[in-house]
C-alpha cells in the first residue's frame, strides 16, 4: 500500500482560540490549572491575563503535520516543542495563532522527513524548536 502524497499546502494555517475553547481543552485534556480559566488567579501569579495551555498551542500547531501526512497520526513518529511565549486570551476576544511548517530534512533510507514548525501570536514566537518527524 503506498502512502498518500504529502501535501505541503497543509503546512500553513491560522488557528484561533477564545476562552470557550480553553474550557473545552481543559475538559478534554484534564488540565484544569486555573491560570487558563480564571483571570484573577492568572493575575495573582503575575500573568497578564488568562493564557492558553501550552499544550493547546502545541496540539493546534501539530495538526498541520498530521494533515501533511494525509490525516494519519500513525505517520507522525515523534514531535517536540519548547514553550517560548504566552498566548494571552482576553475576555470576549478571539486570538489568532499563525502556524507554518517547513520540511528541513529528508532521510531517504528511513523514509522520514523532519518538519520544523513556527507558531506566532502577534509578534511573539510562542513555540520554539518545534518539530516533528514523519513517515513519508
Amino acid at each position: 500500500m503506498s502512502a498518500p502524497a504529502a501535501d505541503s499546502a497543509a503546512l500553513v494555517r491560522t488557528v484561533t482560540v477564545d476562552r470557550a475553547r480553553l474550557v473545552a481543552y481543559a475538559d478534554a485534556s484534564g488540565d484544569q490549572n486555573p491560570i487558563h480559566q480564571d483571570a484573577d488567579v492568572a493575575r495573582s501569579v503575575g500573568l497578564p491575563d488568562i493564557i492558553a495551555h501550552g499544550m493547546w498551542t502545541m496540539g493546534a500547531a501539530l495538526d498541520v503535520v498530521t494533515a501533511y501526512v494525509g490525516g494519519d497520526p500513525g505517520r507522525v513518529l515523534s514531535c517536540q516543542t519548547r514553550f517560548t511565549g504566552m498566548v494571552v486570551v482576553p475576555e470576549g476576544e478571539t486570538v489568532e495563532v499563525r502556524v507554518e511548517g517547513t520540511v528541513t530534512k529528508r532521510d531517504e533510507d528511513a523514509d522520514t522527513e523532519t518538519i520544523a514548525i513556527t507558531a506566532t501570536c502577534g509578534e511573539d514566537k510562542v513555540l520554539g524548536r518545534c518539530q516533528a518527524v514523519v513517515r513519508v
Partner: protein, 148 residues
C-alpha cells in the same frame, strides 16, 4: 516553597488503567481544532488501517498528566500548581492511540532542580498497552516560577 530535589530519579508504580474512549478522542480533536476525519469517523480510521478512531498526536498528554499528578499533587514535592508553566514537551509515538485502548503509564522523575529562582521539573511517562507493549513516551519539563 522550593521544589524538593530529592524526588529526582523516582519511578512510580503504573498508573491506570486508562480506557481511551471515542468521546475522549473526539473532544480532544475538537478542542485543538484537529482536522482529520480519522479522529472522529470510524470508517475513515479503518481506511487508514485502524480499528477505531485515532487520537491526535498530542492526546497522550491527557493520560500523561494523570500519571504526573502523582508528583504534582504531592505536597512534599513542593510544586505550586498555580505557579507552573510548561517548558518543553516531547512525544515519541511507538504506535498511535486508538479508541478502545487500555493503557497504563509509568511516571519517572528524570530531573528536579532549582535554576535561576525557578524550579525545573522533567518527567517521563512511558505509556504501554495492557500487554505491556510501548505506546507513547511523553517527556515534559515544567517550570515552577519563583516568587521573585
Amino acid at each position: 516553597m522550593p521544589i524538593n530535589a530529592d524526588y529526582a530519579g523516582r519511578e512510580y508504580p503504573p498508573a491506570g488503567p486508562f480506557t481511551v474512549t471515542r468521546e475522549e478522542i473526539v473532544a480532544f480533536a475538537d478542542a485543538v481544532g484537529a482536522t482529520g476525519a480519522a479522529h472522529r469517523d470510524q470508517s475513515a480510521a479503518q481506511a487508514l488501517g485502524y480499528a477505531d478512531v485515532v487520537a491526535p498526536t498530542t492526546f497522550a498528554v491527557r493520560l500523561a498528566q494523570q500519571c504526573e499528578a502523582q508528583l504534582v499533587g504531592d505536597p512534599e514535592a513542593g510544586i505550586d500548581f498555580a505557579r507552573v508553566v510548561h517548558g518543553e514537551e516531547t512525544f515519541v509515538h511507538h504506535r498511535p492511540i486508538v479508541a478502545g485502548d487500555v493503557l497504563k503509564g509509568v511516571l519517572h522523575v528524570d530531573r528536579m532542580r532549582e535554576a535561576g529562582g525557578n524550579g525545573m521539573v522533567s518527567t517521563r511517562v512511558e505509556l504501554a498497552d495492557d500487554e505491556g507493549r510501548p505506546v507513547t513516551t511523553v517527556r515534559s519539563t515544567i517550570v515552577v516560577r519563583g516568587e521573585g
